[in-house]
Amino acid sequence: MASYAIITETEPPACAAMLSKIRDRLFRQDSRRARFEQAVLPHLDAAWDLARWLTRNDQDAEDVVQTASLRALQFFDGFQGGNARAWLLTIVRNAFYSWLQQRHRGHEIADPFDEEIHSRAESGLADPEAELLRQADSRLLRQGFESLPLPYREVMVLRELEGLSYKEIAAIAGIPIGTVMSRLARARRHLQDFLIAHGVKEGRR
């Protein structure tokens, strides 16, 4: 009898406290997961595009995005809300550079511009050349993008294909806005020269 009395007296508060703790915990997990999916899943396409352009092949792009997803989940508590796309792309980019370091020990980073092409700049563009550029063959344009050294390729992809602002690109690549600007200017100059040097349309020249 005595023990029954004790149980009824002590159990309800203890039990309620435990249940509410469990509930809190489960909910936190649950809502964290939901917030993570809401933040990250819509930007997987952007993540893929960046990774694919950086790694230049499907298999490695998939590895990089998967690694990035895991890291994103791991560091999600540090995400303050706001620009989820820029946040995810930053992680993708970092995942790519760690991957690159392991694989190639950073060879590609040092890729110089193809100076042969680049040195024919400053010749001034005639108006018909603008017209030619407008009709550039898409396969040649893709080759032009691929011929850009990494630091230039990534800012061009983020700006031209993902439509990010200079400020967002600067945050993702960890460089000043002025550097974003100068890299874009140089990359575009290189692309123009590349297209004109290759006859703009495939098969020409």
């Binding site: 249940l19 909910f27 575009r188």
Partner: protein, 254 residues
């Protein structure tokens, strides 16, 4: 270039990233300097070619499935669970029961404040992307999409195909925003999905005008304006420039 304005300035001008005063100075300069004007024309042409070339990579459906799995799966526990593991599973099953019970409570309490419209618009956009099929009626034909809404809404949304202007129509969807059933039109731009919502301005009077106002949420660009008695919301991860262009094209088409 043999003038004080650098190629970088030109590039920033092209991207709409110069501050207003610098942009105005540069525009005045463009009228005088043929070198800069020509270089700008070439850069514009290059950008158009890039826009038309569809360079953005998209994962295949199989790749998307794998990426989503990686982004949503908990790290797998290796091996067959031990006795302790089974105990843990039993405990978890018990907890789940409790969770489900309290979840139903948590659904209604505490009450959450109603999210504002911009947030609803972005959420709807995100949901449509997560579902993988943003359109209830998938068609590039405005004469299929527009009649589809008949009987589902008490207004008739304007539907125009802008494929020739770089914004192909991809379909339409019925959505529920601002406590009203509304039309969502899906457009594409360089492989980005744009959700365009439109409903009578009287549903949600907010004093917005014909000049599109831009904002950003969760990395998505939002454009909002009111014109011809209809209110418009465009949301996408395409650039703000592209959204503004879409708004311009719609304005011209209406």
């Amino acid at each position: 270039m043999s003038c004080p304005h650098t190629e970088q300035e030109l590039t920033a001008y092209l991207d709409g990233e110069l501050e207003l005063t610098s942009a105005l100075t540069f525009e005045r300069h463009l009228e005088e300097c043929t070198d800069c004007a020509r270089a700008l024309a070439a850069q514009r042409a290059l950008r158009e070619a890039i826009g038309a070339a569809g360079l953005r990579y998209r994962p295949t459906p199989a790749q998307t499935r794998r990426l989503r799995r990686a982004a949503t799966a908990e790290p797998a526990a290796p091996g067959w669970p031990s006795w302790r593991g089974l105990q843990a599973i039993a405990a978890i099953a018990g907890l789940l029961l409790v969770a489900v019970a309290s979840w139903s409570l948590g659904r209604v309490w505490p009450p959450r404040s109603a999210p504002d419209l911009a947030e609803q618009v972005v959420s709807s956009h995100v949901r449509s992307l997560l579902a993988g099929h943003p359109a209830d009626v998938a068609s590039t034909d405005q004469h299929t999409v527009k009649p589809w809404f008949t009987g589902k809404l008490d207004y008739s949304p304007t539907v125009v195909d802008l494929a020739e202007k770089g914004f192909p129509l991809a379909g339409g969807r019925l959505d529920y925003l601002g406590n009203h059933p509304v039309a969502a039109l899906i457009y594409r731009a360089d492989r980005h999905v744009i959700n365009l919502f439109t409903w009578p301005a009287a549903y949600t009077p907010d004093g917005s005008g014909p000049e599109p106002a831009a904002s950003t949420r969760q990395g998505f660009h939002i454009l909002h304006w009111t014109q011809g008695g209809m209110t418009w919301w465009a949301v996408s991860d395409a650039s703000e420039d592209r959204l503004r262009e879409l708004a311009r094209r719609l304005g011209a088409a209406n």
